[in-house]
């Protein structure tokens, strides 16, 4: 994977996803140490290019880079001149001039990381582009499920919420299917994208039906500012019909877990008690996110395979 781009889940084989998840497991051990840092990427520069405000993902990548001892440079719309309509070529050239070893890109329009990757030689990691893809989120969700369930193959996953506008949904659909799980989606018809069958999922108009017997329930964040009143009549009606509470959760398997990419609209997608307590694993997702992103940075921009991710001496500079 070294030197390659990670733009969407389709860039990865099932075996490669397995490797990433195994590496993330090692990275978690680093997080458990007193000194949460290894010299693996010392002397390397990782540029975080965030065209869209996202404290969580940006922070997660930053911590991941720093725990690997990389120099992390953050560019965001606020701290630089990057504007909505800046030439992609100009942006890429600016970044290239910093001679980075990897570039992490987030943009609110689908396709921008791909266009930057087309220009740059160095690996580009997509940290979320519009409603297109968010591969590291899907990988950390796979990692979390793997740890919880011991497997992914053969599980059934229900994704509930605004599928049409969700990159998390698209990448998770692709990721879970690739690892052998069955994926269902549930949303009001206004939030199901045209030709959803192209994604290989069945769409349910009812949460209870969609949850019937599932192992994993993944709730999506609703963009209230953009869509309340446009794609659904009111928050109250949305949470009553598509919000998850313990009553609806009873339709899932007894040992089902609840996931959410965060931040949660409490009382909208998830009832308060579910947001905080088992079977929800939301905080584990956040924690696993750092380990998973360490694995991705290591595998895509780090040393050649055969050298331990955790052994700084053989990692060299």
């Amino acid at each position: 994977m070294i030197g390659r781009d990670l733009l969407c889940i389709d860039d990865l084989t099932r075996e490669e996803i397995g490797t990433i998840l195994e590496t993330a497991e090692h990275m978690r051990e680093v997080a458990a140490r007193d000194v949460k840092k290894v010299p693996t990427l010392r002397g390397r520069t990782i540029v975080n290019l965030f065209f869209e405000a996202s404290t969580r993902t940006a922070t997660s990548f930053e911590i991941a880079g720093k725990r690997l001892s990389a120099d992390v440079v953050n560019f965001s719309t606020r701290s630089s001149s990057l504007s909505k309509a800046e030439s992609i070529l100009d942006t890429a050239r600016t970044i290239d001039a910093m001679d980075p070893d990897a570039v992490v890109v987030r943009h609110n329009v689908a396709g921008v990381p791909k266009r930057i990757a087309d220009v740059l030689e160095v690996p580009v990691i997509n940290a979320g582009d519009g409603a297109h893809a968010h591969p590291t989120q899907a990988l950390l969700d796979l990692f979390t499920v793997q740890k919880e369930k011991g497997r992914i193959d053969g599980l059934t996953v229900a994704i509930v919420g605004d599928i049409a506008h969700s990159r998390v949904a698209r990448s998770n659909i692709a990721g879970f299917q690739k690892m052998g799980a069955e994926v269902r989606v549930a949303a009001p018809p206004t939030m199901i994208p045209a030709g959803v069958e192209a994604l290989g999922v069945k769409a349910y108009p009812s949460v209870r039906e969609a949850l019937d017997g599932v192992d994993v329930v993944m709730m999506l964040r609703i963009q209230l500012e953009r869509f309340a009143g446009a794609l659904f009549p009111s928050i109250r009606e949305y949470s009553a019909t598509f919000g998850l509470d313990r009553e609806k959760l009873r339709y899932a398997r007894d040992d089902a877990i609840v996931m959410h990419p965060g931040p949660v609209n409490r009382g909208v997608e998830l009832s308060h008690d579910l947001a905080d307590r088992r079977p929800s694993v939301i905080l584990d997702q956040v924690r696993n996110g750092v380990a998973l992103r360490m694995a991705v940075l290591y595998l895509f921009s780090g040393r050649p395979p055969g050298q331990s991710a955790l052994d700084g001496n053989s990692g060299g500079d």
Partner: protein, 431 residues
Amino acid sequence: MERFILKGGRVLDPASGYDGVADLRVEYGRVAAIGADLPVEDAEVMDVSSQWVTPAFVDIHTHLREPGQEYKEDIASGGRSAVAGGFGTIACMANTEPVNDDPSVTDFILDRARQDSPARVHPIAAATKGLKGEVMTEMVALVEAGAVAFSDDGKTIMDTGVARRVMEYSRLVQVPVIVHAEDRTLVGDGVVNEGSVSTRLGLPGNPGLAEAVHVSRDIQLAELTGAHVHIAHVSTGAAVEMVRVARERGIRVTAEVTPHHLALTDEATLGFDTNTKMAPPLRGQADMEACRAGLADGTIDCIATDHAPHAVHEKDVDFCEAPNGILGFETALPVVLDLVRTQEMAPLELVRRLTEAPARIISRPCGTLAIGAAADIAVFDPDRRWVYDPAKGYSKSQNSPWAGQELTGRVTYTFVDGRLVFDVERGVLAP
């Protein structure tokens, strides 16, 4: 060259139905004779054997960007690009700055064209002032100034009451109202065809329904008002079908299709190339096939390129931000010749869609090789392969999805008024 003979080409003249190997003689800018082994006498002879000789093409949907956006294109560069693609006559849309909603702008465009353009240029005036969809333009004065049609093009008139009055009033001047049929409330923020591709890409979809709904409305308005309504750049099977039915019922509706909607589908967008972004968007396979069939059976009258230059820096932004449209002139012929290669269309019929049919829509006496007609002629080699490089083309812009691709079919000569204005070996010869 006051007298010359194009010798031994395959002459195709849809207006007369002629299709055969012949010589074509031009005298003093007019077609003088067509026949086998014409006597040379004092004429110069150009050997065009194994090439096709047709009327110069006519494009009734172009954006020349002058006045106001000369960094994208101007009438000189647009005219040069046109003749390099075999076009002798082009009609330009009104979305300039200022908008062509006043006879002074129409005059300006025509003046410029006379000085700078090797192709004939006919302005299309705005249907409403400022393209705002509110107040109709002075159609009588604009037609007297030289406007050949009215259109707000991409600024579709959404107010059905205004659209009705525009169409009623247009009967006074007997020129077509050209409609960019997209219901903007259904387009929303859509940037690619709504369907499996938009879903996979996560880009906002623009449904084919937006076109169908609007075509339906405007066909009903055409029936009510008796106006000649011309549907621009048809992209869906539903629209083709509605036009077909309307014409069977005798409603005055004509239609055009672009080369890109005949040749590309939304799959071309999968790499997020903004040179595949246009309005209406590239559709799915079934819609593309319906457009091809509609062109072949004559439901769609003509091919129009919707030549829409945009500067490199304007297209080199994110997909939602990028402007709509692509270059059209220099790639049109090789792209549409595919319909002949696949035998979906007879050569004479394809040439008709590029010449006589669009000329008829704007009531201009071009697009024919009739004896005595102005010698506007395209000569091309339908089998010649070449690699298209927009940087080496004549437009000021480079926004083409065919950049760097090998195309089959190349224009070798273009004549306007009997004057050689393009020679593939020597390039565009000054206007």
